[in-house]
Assembly symmetry: C2
Homo-oligomer: 362 residues x 2
Amino acid sequence: MRQKTVRANIKDVASVAGVSTQTVSRVINERPDVSPETRKRVKEVIEQVGYRPSALARSLISQRSHTLGVVIAGLKYIGPSNVLSGIASAAEEAGYSLLLKELPRFDANDIEPIFQALFSRHVDGIIWAVSEVGKNRNWVNAPPLDIEIPLVYLTMEPQKKLSVVSINNYMGGRLAASHLLEQGYRHIGHIAGPLEWWEARQRMAAWKDVLNEAGIEVQANHWVEGNWSSSSGALAVEKLFEQYPEMDSIFVANDQMALSALQVIHQKGLSIPEDIGVVGFDNIPESAYFWPSLTTVQQDQYHVAKAAVEEIIKIIESDWQGLPPTGPHTIMLEPSLVVRRSSSRLESIKLENTNNKGGGLV
Amino acid sequence: MRQKTVRANIKDVASVAGVSTQTVSRVINERPDVSPETRKRVKEVIEQVGYRPSALARSLISQRSHTLGVVIAGLKYIGPSNVLSGIASAAEEAGYSLLLKELPRFDANDIEPIFQALFSRHVDGIIWAVSEVGKNRNWVNAPPLDIEIPLVYLTMEPQKKLSVVSINNYMGGRLAASHLLEQGYRHIGHIAGPLEWWEARQRMAAWKDVLNEAGIEVQANHWVEGNWSSSSGALAVEKLFEQYPEMDSIFVANDQMALSALQVIHQKGLSIPEDIGVVGFDNIPESAYFWPSLTTVQQDQYHVAKAAVEEIIKIIESDWQGLPPTGPHTIMLEPSLVVRRSSSRLESIKLENTNNKGGGLV
DNA sequence: GTGAAAGCGCTAACAG
DNA sequence: CTGTTAGCGCTTTCAC
């Protein structure tokens, strides 16, 4: 019972204006070779009948959709949604639309239908914005279909043959651990993210390296694995206190876990940062209002996302212009440290000097 | 310098299989009227040449894209991203793709290009998932273009002629205020969200009504307006203490502001919930780990979103089947109260009885 | 400057 | 059961 199309099409415009469809086409594409009068008349008719060119028909013939596929997971978490926000605004700015697919899980491996759906809608490129977790990158060197379009990955171990854009998690971990050393802490524990995650492994490796370089031996009882959630953080910190009683500070792999760590430490009657220093990772907006305000590593997801969009559009445009394909790039953005109360044992530290978002209540 | 199309199309399949394109079409659409042998052969060829039907071409001819437009704002906040997550999974389940547009601001009013972009890509329906803020609904009764496709709004004042899906914010506010009364608090202050927001007005109105019904007079100095952010919450609570010294509890319009309220109250040396009770709104995952854990109103954004998708798909399918258009619906989902430590002055209260997400550390 | 014809990849309608 | 013809809405030759 499909109804006949109601919206005006190029033919309607042509016949009302008394010209051919080609002429209308020329007008809407702002081509030079149309006489001013004709152009004016056609434009009026377009206004009048409310004509809107069909991007679908255009894509079909031009083989370009000006649409990017975005694959993401965990939108209910703040990180991925920041990423998506960055992708959306960068794409908008560049005149591209976004076709969104959310994976049901971070380590979903049934990706073929995803690619199918995106290909069949002729996206010009794909941004794979799912963090590297477990074996969810197994397919990258043996893709499910021939991927003949640009593909940029967000947040994964750089690989020669792939375009990857990521925050440098390892450097972030180093910032955190080094800072605790500078503050005079020497027994620095670690609450890791789930080690299936590349990001968690990087942060942990940095912590180890920094301590080793300072001549401090890292032992198996000095760290515990969490799962990013606040509840896992609470369990982890309890365990850490048990197995590492000399501990005087903790580098926690994200702010959510750090939040519950703060709470457990309070309950033990210990004071922060005097007895125990705490540093988190992410700089979620609330962390400035934790009690005490949380020192943390700032990673700018929004700009990583922008960089990814810019990269993919560069590739698309250049290979549409027949330019030689630029080889795959790796782009690593550097995180920064936001120093707040939870780690500031030395009074000389100036708080919030790396962050303009308004200070915590110290 | 556009390259000739590389991907196999229906003609290629047809000629390799030695049948007409029509037969191939019948096979990919699982039509019954194809002989088993032909079907088998065609399917083999499809496999072999890696043929993927073009959704674009199909949409063009069938006038259906199986794509939904989603317009949203503030993706970097947790609420909107939860909403989007719900929309994404419900759409996926129903076999629809999503074309995403993020508005640069909640009260953006330059919506015509948004509609253009969505229409020109022939979306089957639009979910307007931007909260009602200020005058950003001015256009609903005089749309920028003829909107001939289903449109469902999320989170706005119900209107007779529109399909609206929302959490019942007013009831949420009532739950919060009533709970504080039950706990024996009598001087209940309020930190409102920005009153440009419909949701903020609803929550505030409920607070007023509940107090009035209990015979408590609400005065202008009993509330302060914030802007949803933690920093505004800190300022608001300071101001509230000044202008309403007898205050013994606060209903805060979201959890972020409640977080900084807790912090300020601590700094004043007051104890929660004994001296001051606090109730928030949203139930963000961290709120169970605030200090003390936060009583709050749970609104299930994810399910609101699902309801919206189901509603719009119902409309789409029914008017594609030529059924009489079902009139616009209003769907209101009820929030629930999650009782935690920050408001539990009476010991008899059982904590966390309405929430299965694992308790706060009380 | 402008138009006619062909076709992007697919499906509806009708033959046979 | 299967093929032919036409055409979705647009753009790209190539005439005139």
